[in-house]
């Protein structure tokens, strides 16, 4: 089984997670830039973070046989802090990088005027850079937030079929689908969606343009949720082709709109020891490469 997790914050995860994901069938991830839990106070903190998403994190992922791409943006929460908004001016030099497959996560948090501006500006940046956009729908006041998001997308230069609306659920799926956008569902241990509800939702609404992700980050979350959804789908009677469509071909099609996806990552390298991310290899492991 091959799995593409189209939304996971690997910066917050360990190498054990990478290994477990690989063993579960995960071969590709997209890491959207987002809030780090602790608010940032200067644009430079964002640039170091973006550099890590374009340098260290893909390197780390490749050690475990996983292709890593990212989406970059000023997230809606921090778009409200004027100390962070200069990030919008620096984004063009980042959006031209090969590993950037969308502008994101953008969208709404508290639906403020500053968030309106950041969303509109960044949808335009996506259009200018020939990139799709990954738009998160708010956790609070979700349906109203979705409607406002769809309105802003309609007014933008970006076609709805180049937009992924994420963190959807039973209350927002229909209007999101009617908008013509791609549909993202985050599966979490306690909040957002769960495996069984995901199965029910797919039975009802079909697999077209549907992406399932773990959205795993620094909070209570599970980087293997994509595999758990795949197993739940098979158990519910869906076939391998259906699972492959939702968990591989759909995310490949959406992020492939960037023209920048490279999915052929070599098998994990043999373990090497010393002060690297693969430190602590068993004593019997061959040294060097």
């Amino acid at each position: 089984m091959r799995i593409f997790d189209p939304h996971i914050h690997m910066t917050s995860r360990t190498t054990d997670d990478y290994q477990a994901m690989y063993l579960s069938g995960v071969r590709a991830v997209v890491e959207p830039s987002f809030w780090l839990g602790q608010p940032r106070t200067s644009p430079e903190s964002f640039y170091d973070y973006f550099d890590a998403l374009l340098g260290w994190e893909p390197f780390r992922a490749a050690q475990y046989g996983i292709a890593h791409h990212c989406t970059l943006a000023l997230n809606p929460k921090e778009a409200n802090d004027p100390r962070c908004t200069p990030v919008l001016d620096a984004l063009p030099r980042y959006l031209m990088k090969d590993n950037v497959v969308a502008v994101g996560e953008i969208g709404y948090d508290s639906m403020t005027p500053a968030e309106d501006t950041a969303l509109a500006v960044q949808l335009q940046l996506a259009a200018d850079h020939d990139l799709p956009a990954m738009v998160h729908t708010p956790h609070r006041d979700k349906l109203a937030g979705l409607r406002r998001t769809i309105d802003v997308v309609r007014e933008s230069a970006l076609a709805p079929d180049r937009v992924l609306l994420d963190h959807l659920n039973e209350t927002t799926v229909k209007e999101a689908k009617d908008s013509g956008a791609w549909l993202g569902f985050s599966v979490y241990p306690d909040t957002k969606m769960d495996e069984d509800r995901m199965v029910t939702l797919l039975k009802e609404h079909g697999p077209e343009k549907v992406l399932v992700n773990s959205a795993a980050d620094w909070g209570k979350s599970d980087p293997l949720k994509t595999r758990k959804v795949a197993d739940a789908l098979l158990k519910a009677g869906f076939d391998d082709d259906f699972v492959d469509l939702v968990l591989w071909r759909n995310p490949v099609a959406f992020y492939g709109l960037s023209g920048r996806l490279v999915l052929d990552v070599p098998e994990p390298a043999p373990e090497h020891e010393g002060n690297t991310i693969l430190r602590g290899a068993p004593k019997s492991a061959p040294d060097g490469r």
């Binding site: 550099d51 374009l54 340098g55 260290w56 893909p58 390197f59 063009p92 030099r93 031209m96 990088k97 090969d98 590993n99 023209g259 920048r260 490279v262 390298a269 090497h272 020891e273 010393g274 002060n275 690297t276 991310i277 693969l278 004593k283 061959p286 040294d287 060097g288 490469r289």
Partner: protein
């Protein structure tokens, strides 16, 4: 370094492997880089630097390194430009800047880039950092730690330019390698094969004084 890095070699190699539309894209990108050399493009993002960023998706990840190095050569990127492109670069872009240093920078002004790369744990950058530019300019202390880092992180020491020349008669490097080997043995772990290879290279030449550090670090001191 086994890859050809002279501009003519890179161009010949790319001409042989690239197909359309990558070939036309490269011609255009190189023309832009050469034009930049004639009249400096002062826009925030000069055109050829955009081409540098998009080399992977235009020519394929397997050719991106060569294309980027060739663009840097063609634009005759100065140390200030190289510094900025490294600082704003992705991992693979930084690797290309490091690969271009021996051709583009005669003195030691770009050494901070090599030192930055050697501080990372990204083995792609560590391997690119220990090329001919480091062999030429890294001081004895920094160079010894670079060799040791290669052994630690599993970068084959074949990547270290000028290894035999700089290792010859380096008693301090021999001591560091011996200590590392001892630490490995004490932990019940195997000693990297490359370690004994480098250790053998530290033997003084028969006609030179024992403990000499070679012609490029005449003081023999750590800085």
């Amino acid at each position: 370094m086994t890859e050809p890095s002279a501009p003519t070699d890179l161009r010949a190699q790319l001409d042989q492997h690239l197909e359309e539309p990558a070939r036309t894209w490269l011609d255009q990108a190189l023309t832009e880089a050469a034009a930049h050399r004639e009249s400096a493009d002062t826009r925030p993002l000069p055109l050829w630097e955009r081409r540098f960023a998009e080399a992977g998706r235009r020519c394929g990840a397997e050719h991106a390194d060569s294309v980027r190095v060739l663009l840097l050569h063609t634009a005759l990127a100065d140390p200030e430009t190289l510094n900025r492109m490294y600082a704003q670069g992705t991992g693979v872009e930084r690797r290309a800047v490091l690969d271009a240093l021996p051709e583009l920078v005669a003195d030691a002004t770009a050494l901070p880039l090599v030192e930055d790369a050697l501080r990372t744990n990204d083995t792609r950058l560590v391997a690119a950092a220990v090329g001919p530019y480091a062999a030429r300019h890294l001081d004895a202390h920094g160079w010894r730690h670079a060799v040791l880092k290669c052994l630690f992180t599993g970068v084959p020491v074949d990547a270290v330019a000028g290894l035999a020349r700089r290792a010859r008669g380096d008693a301090e490097l021999a001591r560091m390698l011996g200590d590392y080997g001892h630490e490995r043995t004490a932990a019940g772990r195997p000693v990297p094969e490359d370690l004994s290879r480098v250790l053998a290279l530290t033997a003084p030449t028969t006609d030179g004084p024992a403990g000499a550090t070679g012609p490029h670090s005449p003081s023999g001191k750590e800085s």
